[in-house]
């Protein structure tokens, strides 16, 4: 990714734009929507986990905040769910500060441990708190009262809304990557002590990355709950929500712009396939597969598929990356 857009991105953009018409059945459109949602949340994770190198294993707290608030304002006050999106972002930012402020003074492992502990804490509290639906969860409007409720009959409107959000997330990430903050993030990732000695504001850089990441993850959660019209502690705040973001970003290539999208394009169809082949009991096998993929990635290719491609692909096919 130099300064100019290259042909790979244009081809990918065109492919994503025409996909719902090339594969018009509801099944394929649904997969398309899932891929886009997974790509949005993994790209959001990637800002702090990939670029800044602060590995969160509890991003479900931001996804959950984004997923709960729209349905919460609908359930209690009858507001259009969309109005809950900024509130979800606000809650996510508070959580980011609570987790990030103390742990970013310490070694990287503290942050990882704190994210998983706080995410689990929130899941337990939400699961017993009646105001937010406890274990049963919350529901959105069954029938939209107007266009502003964003309840569409088909997948198509959601597909293009998600695609637009993904575009925004990728553009912002691209800009951040080229900015001073982006260089700071990579410096922190490469070596905190060296970065500090060169005058990089380490703690502020990490916190900025986390807050930006939390914002986008929260938006992804809102998109999810507004589309499905339902959220419960497992689907909004479960550990597997966090796992999916990590694995998709790491599979494609953490710390690269296209990595999360590539990871989502591979993993979501794979997951749909295993669920279809193995039936209802297949979900357990899916997670065994997830665990296996994560272990193999860590052991053999922590840079993900992009790194592998750069090593094995013929020189003329290689994509040049700045990072």
């Amino acid at each position: 990714m130099g300064g100019k857009l290259n042909y790979g991105w244009i081809a990918l953009g065109v492919a994503l734009a025409v996909y719902p018409f090339a594969f018009a059945s509801p099944f394929f459109r649904d997969i398309g929507v899932s891929v886009l949602l997974a790509a949005i949340s993994a790209s959001a994770w990637n800002i702090v986990g990939g670029y800044a190198g602060q590995v969160s294993v509890g991003h479900s707290m931001f996804f959950g905040a984004g997923a709960y608030l729209p349905l919460l304002v609908y359930t209690h006050w009858g507001w259009p769910p969309v109005l809950g999106v900024p509130l979800g972002i606000a809650v996510s930012l508070v959580l980011a500060v609570v987790v990030g402020m103390p742990t970013f003074r310490l070694q990287g492992h503290y942050f990882s441990m704190a994210t998983i502990a706080v995410a689990e804490l929130i899941r337990l509290v939400v699961g017993t708190w009646d105001f937010v639906g406890a274990a049963i969860g919350l529901q959105g409007p069954a029938v939209g009262r107007g266009w502003w409720d964003l309840t569409f009959a088909g997948e198509l409107p959601y597909y293009y809304i998600f695609l637009a959000v993904l575009f925004v997330v990728l553009v912002v990430t691209f800009q951040v990557q080229r900015s001073r903050a982006g260089y700071y993030m990579r410096a922190v990732k490469a070596g905190e002590r060296a970065a500090r000695s060169l005058g990089v504001p380490v703690r502020r850089t990490k916190l900025t990355a986390l807050m930006l990441s939390a914002t986008f993850t929260s938006v992804a959660g809102s998109l999810y709950s507004i589309k499905t019209g339902f959220v419960d502690p497992e689907s909004g705040l479960g550990i597997l929500v966090s796992v999916q973001m990590v694995i998709i970003a790491a599979l494609g290539g953490a710390g690269t712009l296209s990595g999360p999208l590539i990871g989502a394009l591979i993993l979501i169809p794979l997951q749909t396939a295993t669920n279809t082949w193995f039936g209802g009991g297949g979900s357990g096998l899916t997670y065994i597969l997830y665990g296996g993929i994560i272990v193999l990635l860590a052991r053999f290719e922590p840079g993900g598929l992009i790194e592998l491609w750069r090593r094995v692909a013929p020189r003329r096919l290689r994509i040049r990356h700045a990072a």
């Binding site: 706080v118 017993t128 997670y287 065994i288 665990g291």
Partner: protein, 285 residues
């Protein structure tokens, strides 16, 4: 009297927390590495105990040793096959390696043993004793005391034996230890074996009095993080005190607030610790 009983129960459970947390803190002290699969090691220890009791009709001593041995082997294998290759790599690889391992072990256990809650059939240790009005179940008492003794043994092993000195030497300075004729790789493999074995025995001990399912590993793993943070990373005596404190806090909050809040209070304590005293009670900042 009931309160006193709650306190005794909390301390006995806390001794078991201390035992498996001492394994986690040992690994941290040796190589600055956090094992996200530690709770899953505890969970596997519980299933090893169950298998030994149901298939081999083994008694408490038999399944205790079996769990320790099986997990020791697993710990060494995990070190040799995975950790050794990622510990010098990027942070992402370090965290993903054991995080992925945790998922793999947890969901493989779901696949093999199903999500049902199981408990150990009554063993030779069943029964309750009455100590001046305080009722303590015999398996809980034996498990707690055994765990406390084993944690102490771990501390003595590290501080009073040659092997312990070698382990600490590697922790202190890997290259210097190598110059003294110590093989760091072997010592780190031993540390992983010991850590996993401590988790395995702790699991077997807990299996005698608490029902469980494959998902307990996550709870125990997080509990171990809290204990190790409270005690100070790398400190086995710290883990010992902190384990008892966390066990006590947990049973008191279950008593006063209700059982569903016991983990909430402990994780909340963790967040408070990170803000107020991240180096823990006995840790060096």
């Amino acid at each position: 009297m009931l309160l006193l009983q709650v306190i005794v129960g909390g301390l006995l459970l806390g001794a078991i927390y201390a035992l498996f947390s001492s394994g986690l803190t040992l690994i941290w002290g040796m190589m600055n590495f956090i094992n996200f699969a530690h709770g899953e090691f505890v969970m596997l220890g519980m299933y090893v105990a169950l298998l030994v009791v149901t298939w081999l009709a083994g008694g408490p001593a038999a399944f205790g040793f079996a769990a320790a041995f099986a997990l020791f082997v697993l710990g060494v294998a995990v070190y040799a096959g995975l950790i050794r290759h990622v510990m010098r790599g990027p942070m992402l690889a370090q965290i993903l390696s054991t995080f992925g391992l945790a998922l793999l072990l947890r969901y493989t256990a779901f696949f093999i043993f199903s999500a049902n809650v199981v408990s150990l059939p009554p063993t030779a240790l069943s029964g309750t004793i009455d100590a001046g009005g305080i009722l303590v179940s015999l398996p809980q008492l034996v498990a707690g005391v055994t765990a406390a003794l084993l944690t102490l043994a771990m501390h003595l092993l590290l501080t009073r034996t040659t092997v312990g000195s070698q382990l600490l030497a590697v922790a202190e300075d890997r290259s210097a230890a190598m110059l003294m004729g110590i093989r760091p790789d072997r010592m780190q493999a031993l540390a992983w074996g010991l850590a996993a074995a401590s988790a395995g025995i702790a699991g077997a001990l807990m299996a005698t009095s608490y029902p469980w399912s494959p998902s307990v590993g996550e709870t125990f793993g997080l509990t171990a993080f809290v204990v190790v943070t409270l005690g100070g990373f790398g400190s086995v005596p710290g883990a010992m005190y902190a384990g008892l404190i966390v066990g006590l806090i947990q049973s008191l909050s279950a008593y006063y607030l209700g059982p569903i809040y016991k983990d909430v209070v402990v994780y909340g304590l963790f967040v408070a610790l990170l803000w107020l005293r991240p180096q823990g009670l006995m840790g060096k900042a």
